[in-house]
């Protein structure tokens, strides 16, 4: 017994030591890092402010928890926090310019029945440690994704389509699919947050991708083909420096592209809107995560050098690929009736909503896909349907008529009740970013007799995924270009075209005819726009009549861009790409930015 | 005869409360010769503790010295600044406190509490000398050297009081004021402590004021005895004559109420209550309880007069009245 107590005493003295050590550990731990930094201390060269690009982004814990994670495939990491620019893509795609830009690859072609895709890579491209970038890297990346599947990002997407990637010769790789995948090239090229990163085989081989950090500044990691080298990564900030001379980057050496003018990028954690606005006004930052319309307009008054996508005019930003809609649970009673769904759409005054929530700086969302140039032809194709199904019309009269026809009457307190006397209770869930519009929509519905309320409970994501909700405000990233297939895919209750590729059907809406038509679109190549338009028309005929999802507003990225030190930002009259520096197309912006001084 | 070490002249000390000024000490005049032991007796609330505290300069608001003088040699203590008064304490005038039970700082050792008293008055004493002085002082009050390292809660009541005595005499003061030093102790320990104080007094030649209400103790210890009633001095004189033939009626009743061993079961107290010191009635304050009260007693305050070698404040001995 005595020995027992001693052991317990001993182990818990360790705990006491731990408590002290963990503060101490922070210092020695810092020491190790510090030694690294010490060496680096001399290495962290001086870069003048006017050649530095300071960004305020994520790291909401007031610091970056993932500062040691530069392998974008692991669950804990996120390409938006910096790793994105270290992995150059085979192809970029700019939704605004609606053009594909070959990068590490020179060209690609599908076989006749879209079951094979071949890439021809660009010659003499080298990794930062001198090893040449070859087809081996592309094949290794794709094959590993097929093996790992759900353990890493994009694993499931690639596993569904790709059977095997084969090296034909050092500059040619052939990807064999198990089902026709005409849209796979579009899928893996960089646009917004979608795209598959190509990793150096000689570094990643033999590593466990789920835990491998690919982070060791002394070793020159993360190894990259880009002109960017990681200089410093601590919980409080990330510093990325550009290479010294043009011949250290394959593109500037071969004259494919000239060296970016930005010499240093600093990522700082986002703490709050007030603090960020202050930093941007005082030129302590060059760009940041979105600001609210009222805030960004005030910032631009205080600091005229600040511009947005639409300069100093509302809506102060560009339409994101992420339209916001009110999802109603089509399985719950009342909401399984399409008339009730249409009534809700008619009761929602989107103009008043935009006026109050965004100070007039916003637009209503007409359709479930964003209003992008490459998708406009499809919007044309269904314009006839929009006459009898006006998704943005505010018309309480029509709404009331729909409800009365469906057997609803108003009870003593003015709320609609069905024949059995049960009230239409719409409890809407959401997240903090929807709290500008949530309470206003619920107020509008209450004014029209729907017993609505809004809340953003801590378990909103969980309840939404399990379908434990009446209504939910949410955006959905679907199609960006080509055809609205990626948007329709989200409304499918099941899919035969892509086995196991079905996503979570948040809407709980089932329509077999709709599923069949969308499956057909899945296997139609982008090269046949006519058939795609026709299919879209048929699909939308069902979608609009049923209205499984009530469109609310377009989501705007209102990014403050500071022209004190840097110009040639992507804007409405210089639409080379969308302005979000956290998307995978940041590399394109970095290549375009010009120093102002 | 300038051998009088300490003289109180018409001393007045009032406590200013919401209901009015409480005249705790109202015009007391007495003197203490060098090496003399003066007793101060009276019921509780008669002002004897206030006098002791006033001499030490420890009267705190709402109490205040209204008038009169306290002459230590040529120096009037009432006029001294706080700093000057502080230097006198322990140096010239030592206090043996009443509540011995927690008069010692519970969280520091006995030797530290003796040393800080000495160091407050004389910075230059070396550490070694201080230690020897501590031992010397402890032994002088009959305590072994080990007591120096002990804490207050490790000492008995008697030992605590001895430590207080040791502190009081550590700088050989001229006057030692003992405010009911043994009231909390049992008889046997009481005797030991008083003997210690007696021996020390003789060795140092200091004069002692012993305030208390234990007449038996007074009889054995003091040379002269002063009787106080309601803030005023009613009788003062050599203790033996006073015990033999008390003049003032209050003194007579006080002595009469001493329980003698012979008569068992008979307790004689003094009827009535001590008067309020706020609304002081005219005349002699003892008038309501005085068995030999006269007409004049209720009108005029009796002055202190000589009466066969003693002083007494009572109209019985007022020659004009009798004629």
């Amino acid at each position: 017994m005595k020995k027992g107590i001693l052991w317990v005493l001993l182990s818990w003295l360790i705990v006491a030591a731990f408590v002290l050590a963990s503060c101490g550990e922070a210092v020695p731990g810092e020491q190790e890092e510090e030694e690294e930094e010490e060496e680096e201390e001399e290495g962290l060269k001086e870069v003048s402010r006017d050649r530095t690009l300071i960004l305020i982004w994520s790291g909401t814990e007031g610091r970056y928890v993932d500062h040691e994670l530069w392998n974008p495939f692991s669950i804990g990491s996120n390409h938006q926090n910096g790793p994105g620019i270290f992995y150059e893509p085979l192809y970029y795609y700019s939704a605004f310019a609606d053009e594909e830009i070959p990068w590490l690859a020179e060209s690609y072609e599908y076989n006749s029945d879209n079951t094979e895709l071949t890439y021809h890579l660009r010659p003499d491209v080298t990794w930062s440690d001198g090893v040449p970038f070859t087809a081996e890297d592309v094949a290794y990346t794709l094959n590993t994704l097929v093996d790992l599947g759900p353990a890493v990002r994009w694993g499931v997407d690639v596993e569904q389509f790709v059977d095997e990637a084969v090296v034909v010769n050092p500059l040619t790789v052939k990807i064999k699919f198990n089902v026709p995948a005409p849209k796979f090239h579009h899928f893996i090229s960089y646009k917004y947050d979608i795209g598959v990163y190509m990793v150096p085989k000689h570094i990643f081989e033999g590593q466990d991708w789920t835990v491998f950090g690919h982070f060791d500044i002394a070793e020159g990691w993360p190894v990259t083909t880009s002109p960017w080298r990681l200089a410093l990564s601590t919980p409080e900030q990330k510093v990325i420096d550009r290479v010294e001379s043009p011949d250290e980057w394959w593109a500037s050496k071969t004259g494919f592209a000239d060296l970016p003018k930005v010499e240093r990028i600093i990522y700082l954690p986002w703490v709050g809107e007030t603090q960020t606005a202050e930093a941007v006004i005082k030129n302590e930052a060059d760009a940041s995560l979105d600001l609210r319309p009222h805030t960004i307009s005030m910032c631009m008054e205080d600091n005229p050098n600040l511009i947005s996508h639409t300069f100093h005019e509302p809506p102060y930003g560009y339409v994101d690929w992420w339209p916001i809609s009110l999802i109603v649970n089509c399985e719950h009673d009342h909401f399984d009736n399409k008339d009730v769904r249409w009534a809700l759409s008619y009761f929602m005054d989107r103009d008043e909503l935009i006026d109050v929530a965004y100070g007039g700086a916003g637009t209503a969302s007409l359709l479930p896909w964003p209003s992008y140039p490459s998708l406009d032809p499809f919007t044309e194709a269904i314009s006839d349907l929009l006459e009898d199904y006006p998704t943005n019309e505010y018309n309480p009269g029509k709404g009331e008529k729909l409800l009365t026809d469906a057997g609803y009457t108003k009870d003593s307190e003015g709320f609609w009740v069905d024949a059995a006397g049960s009230r239409i209770r719409l409890e809407m869930l959401g997240w903090a970013i929807f709290e500008d519009i949530g309470p206003i929509i619920s107020a509008q519905f209450r004014n029209h007799g729907i017993d609505a309320s809004y809340a953003s409970p801590p378990d909103a994501s969980d309840r939404m995924d399990r379908g434990d909700f009446d209504g939910c405000l949410r955006g959905h990233g679907g199609s960006v270009a080509g055809d609205p297939y990626f948007t329709f895919r989200m409304y499918q209750s099941a899919t035969l075209a892509v086995p196991g590729g079905h996503m979570i059907n948040y809407y709980r809406w089932h329509n077999d005819e709709f599923d069949r038509l969308v499956d057909e679109m899945a296997i139609t190549s982008m090269a046949e726009p006519a058939t795609l338009k026709e299919l879209t028309h048929d699909v939308m005929e069902i979608w609009l009549e049923e209205l499984p999802d009530i469109q609310v507003v377009e989501w705007y990225h209102r990014i403050p861009m500071n022209t004190t030190y840097w110009t040639n930002w992507p804007t409405e009259d210089n639409m080379y790409v969308n302005g979000a520096f956290w998307h995978l197309t940041f590399g394109m912006i970095l290549n375009e930015l010009e120093p102002a001084q | 005869m300038n051998t009088q070490l300490l003289k109180l002249q018409e001393l007045q000390v009032f406590y200013h409360t919401d209901e009015g000024a409480v005249k705790a000490v109202d015009g007391v005049t007495l003197s203490l010769a060098k090496g003399e032991r003066l007793g101060l007796v009276g019921e509780s609330g008669c002002g004897k503790s206030t006098i002791a505290m006033t001499i030490m300069g420890l009267i705190k608001s709402p109490g205040r010295i209204e008038g009169g003088k306290i002459l230590l040699g040529e120096v009037d203590l009432t006029k001294l600044s706080e700093g000057e008064m502080r230097r006198l304490r322990l140096n010239q005038v030592g206090l043996i406190p009443q509540g011995a039970m927690n008069s010692l700082n519970p969280v520091s050792r006995v030797k530290d509490q003796i040393i800080d008293g000495m160091r407050a008055h004389n910075q230059q004493i070396s550490k070694r000398e201080l230690r020897s002085r501590v031992y010397e002082v402890l032994e002088s009050v009959g305590l072994r050297r080990g007591v120096a390292r002990m804490y207050a809660h490790e000492l008995s009541g008697g030992m605590k009081q001895r430590v207080c005595v040791a502190i009081a005499i550590s700088l050989h003061p001229q006057v030692v004021i003992a405010d009911e030093p043994t009231s909390a102790l049992d008889v046997v320990v009481q005797r030991e402590v008083m003997e210690t104080i007696g021996q020390l007094q003789q060795q140092l030649g200091a004069s002692v004021i012993l305030a208390g209400h234990d007449m038996g103790l007074m009889a054995q210890f003091v040379d002269r005895l002063a009787v106080m009633y309601a803030g005023k001095l009613v009788e003062i004189g050599p203790v033996k004559e006073l015990f033999a033939k008390p003049l003032h009626p209050y003194t007579q009743l006080l002595l009469a109420s001493l329980p003698g061993l012979a008569e068992r079961g008979v307790f004689r107290g003094i009827p009535g209550l001590t008067p309020s010191l706020v609304h002081v009635p005219p005349g002699c304050l003892f008038y309501p309880r005085c068995p030999r009260a006269m007409e004049i007693c209720s009108q005029e305050v009796p002055a202190l007069r000589e009466e066969d070698g003693r002083q007494v404040a009572c109209h019985l001995y007022n020659s004009e009245v009798l004629t």
């Binding site: 930094e37 994670l69 409080e236 959905h476 990233g477 | 700082n105």
Partner: protein
């Protein structure tokens, strides 16, 4: 006799820890939330893309972290891990280990909150003591009511007001963060420390102002009772200087109960003041705990709370052992 007293206190120390760990283990598991789904959804809210195979990913990682095993089995491994101080990985930020997250957050929280609690304790107690001390300058009496009002105000609101006037209107102080962006963490250089102090000034000020009032009030109460004690009269009779009377006698005796509440307050410091750190964007352990709770990252929650419990229990344990040194009257007998 001394050893068995310590052993008994240690036994209680362990019991409290075990109970708290059990509560912490079961509490989050009652809800059906899953950290992986939370993380995916948060990314979706920022980036927009809904990860296709999310359900499969969730199953993959649940098996990796053993979350699909029966609850009791999980509880067993959990206790043995805690015993070996292996907190495992943070689910939401896999493969980041909980231990490294702790070591990043703890120094800030302990630094800021430790310092502010000590300063508030020191200044508050001294002020409280002086208020009750007759000879102290009377001007302090006017200082006390505003401090009392300040201590009634929730300190994160105080922080908001301070930010507005001192950091925003006339930017004497930085608005947020542990230290100014762009500086390299170098704990040895003086300028870095200056930077950190400059940043932590406002959060510290708001907590100190809020804390002083309470410490002063309790201290004043104690001083009043201590001044009435007989040993104070004896000390004055010894003709001691005012400062000795104040420090060695009055303060030394009235500080004892204050120290008890100080140790408890210091214990809570490790938990970090979530609200202050969130309002000021301070990179302490409080913000990490807040986000771990919002993301339901069990392992991080358990790691942080173990440290909090250990710190508090350790604090009370050390207090029990050290208290007799503070107050000789207390001995090791049955307390």
């Amino acid at each position: 006799m001394k050893l068995d007293y310590i052993a008994k206190r240690f036994g209680i120390f362990l019991l409290v820890i075990w109970l708290a760990l059990t509560v912490i283990f079961f509490l989050p598991r009652f809800s059906t939330q899953n950290p992986i789904r939370e993380k995916m959804n948060q990314e979706m809210l920022r980036g927009g893309y809904v990860q296709v195979g999310m359900e499969q990913m969730i199953e993959e990682y649940e098996s990796k972290f053993g979350l699909n095993k029966p609850l009791w089995e999980q509880y067993g491994t959990y206790l043995s891990d805690m015993g070996r101080l292996d907190f495992g990985y943070s689910i939401a930020h896999y493969p980041k280990t909980v231990k490294s997250m702790l070591s990043e957050g703890l120094p800030w929280s302990i630094g800021l909150l430790g310092m502010t609690t000590l300063i508030a304790f020191g200044v508050g107690s001294l002020l409280g003591a002086l208020l009750a001390w007759r000879r102290a300058p009377q001007v302090l009496r006017y200082l006390f009511p505003p401090l009392l009002v300040l201590s009634a105000v929730p300190f994160y609101l105080l922080g908001l007001v301070l930010i507005f006037f001192l950091a925003f209107e006339n930017s004497w102080f930085p608005l947020f963060g542990g230290y100014s962006p762009g500086t390299v963490t170098d704990w040895l250089s003086i300028s870095f420390w200056g930077n950190v102090l400059h940043h932590s000034f406002l959060p510290a000020l708001s907590m100190i102002l809020a804390g002083i009032g309470l410490w002063a009030l309790t201290m004043r109460g104690m001083m009043v009772t201590v001044q009435g004690e007989d040993y104070m009269t004896m000390a004055e009779a010894k003709g001691l200087k005012g400062s000795t009377l104040f420090f060695r006698y009055a303060l030394r005796n009235s500080i004892l109960p204050q120290v008890t509440s100080l140790v408890l307050a210091l214990g809570h410091v490790v938990g970090g003041a979530v609200l202050v750190e969130v309002v000021f964007g301070y990179p302490g352990i409080g913000t990490t705990l807040y986000h771990a709770i919002r993301e339901f990252d069990y392992f991080v929650i358990q790691g942080i709370i173990l440290i909090v419990i250990v710190a508090i229990a350790l604090g009370t344990f050390l207090l029990d052992v050290a208290y007799p040194l503070l107050d000789p009257r207390i001995t090791y007998r049955r307390a």
